[in-house]
């Protein structure tokens, strides 16, 4: 030790020294041996290492999860907004099928005849039906009534008999004349 500088050895220095020594004189370090300290520190460092690994794994897991969420979010978006050649081809095929299944005019007339037959059959069936046994006084809902409308025949002449009559009468008038 070198000699002390007298500038710092005054009353204030004395009280600082006394205070520091008095306030810490009863403080004793824990009674660990060096081997105990070594084992404690080794345990502490291994715990810290485990914590680092534990901390790293969820971080990686979270990163992977974020990547998955990102990919899941992007894929349907791209399909829905940008039609691929496959989807346009499917749409073309569906429209072609719709066009081919549209009935022509002759088929529609046959359908009308079928409906007429079906109605006649229903009328026959309704006449032969027994009355429904029910306590309900409300009238039962009636079946749909198909109103038959006279349609001109397919091969009927475009002119009527009445249109000819004036011509005959005219001829007769001429004969009488």
């Amino acid at each position: 030790m070198s000699t002390r500088d007298p500038r710092y050895e005054d009353e204030l220095g004395f009280i600082i020294r006394e205070t520091l020594q008095t306030e810490t004189e009863f403080e004793e370090p824990p009674a660990y041996t060096w081997n105990e300290i070594q084992s404690r520190l080794t345990e502490k460092s291994s715990t810290a290492r485990k914590f680092r690994v534990f901390w790293l794994t969820p971080a990686l897991q979270a990163a992977l999860l974020l990547v998955l969420i990102f990919l899941q979010g992007v894929t349907p978006y791209s399909y829905s907004t940008q039609p691929t050649p496959v989807t346009s081809q499917i749409e073309t095929t569906i429209s072609q099928i719709e066009m081919s299944t549209t009935p022509p005019a002759a088929t529609r007339q046959n359908d009308d005849l079928d409906m007429q037959l079906l109605k006649e059959q229903r009328e026959v069936v309704s006449h032969s039906e027994q009355p429904v046994r029910s306590v309900n006084t409300q009238p039962l809902p009636t079946a749909n009534v198909y109103v038959r409308q006279e349609r001109p025949q397919q091969n009927a002449p475009t002119h009527t008999e009445s249109s000819r009559t004036p011509v005959i009468l005219k001829q007769n008038l001429d004969l009488n004349r």
Partner: protein, 193 residues
């Protein structure tokens, strides 16, 4: 402590002698612990810093020069650790923690001490605690362990002039704090400052 004996123990520890290292630990642990507790005002922190400082000493014992005293090197490690601890603590420091630490540090008064002296020590200790880390550490090393200015400079890794400057400002600030403290009797305040 006999320097020759310490140098011999350091040399043996460098050769891997665990008994020699344990002897060095027993030789320095008390004073180092009290120094750290005076700087940090926290018993638990002082315990951890003490253990960490000796673990570093154990790992880096080869760096100690032949015949050089172990204490400055050991104190430098401990003070660096205490500095790190103080910086971390500043972020979480609360008034309640301060009070609890103060209660832990307080020791029962001995019958020989008068109440006045006891109060004076407590007030001075509180004022030292309020100094910033560098000024507080300089005071502790210089007054508590009677390290020379050169040794303090070596421990704190700064020039001797910086140590003198820190001592000057630490004492000035301490004097101002004690004079401003209304709890200190006027007579005692002027007597010591």
């Amino acid at each position: 402590m006999p320097e020759g004996k310490e140098a011999e123990l350091v040399a043996r520890a460098k050769d891997g002698d665990m008994v020699a290292f344990e002897a060095l630990y027993e030789m320095h642990k008390g004073s180092l612990f009290r120094t750290v507790i005076a700087i940090t005002s926290n018993g638990q922190a002082a315990e951890e810093i003490l253990q960490e400082a000796f673990l570093r000493a154990f790992k880096r014992i080869d760096e100690i020069r032949e015949g050089a005293p172990l204490a400055p090197w050991l104190y430098r490690v401990a003070i660096n650790l205490a500095y790190d601890w103080t910086r971390r603590r500043q972020r979480w420091h609360t008034a309640l923690d301060n009070l609890m630490n103060r209660l832990q540090i307080m020791t029962p008064p001995s019958p020989e001490q008068t109440i006045e002296q006891r109060e004076l020590y407590e007030l001075v200790y509180e004022a030292i605690e309020r100094l910033d880390f560098k000024h507080r550490t300089t005071l502790v090393l210089f007054y508590m362990h009677a390290f020379s200015l050169e040794e303090v400079a070596e421990i704190m890794e700064c020039p001797v002039g910086t140590v003198k400057s820190r001592l000057h400002y630490a004492r000035k600030k301490l004097r101002r704090e004690l004079l401003a403290d209304q709890r200190l009797p006027r007579g005692i305040a002027y007597e010591y400052t």
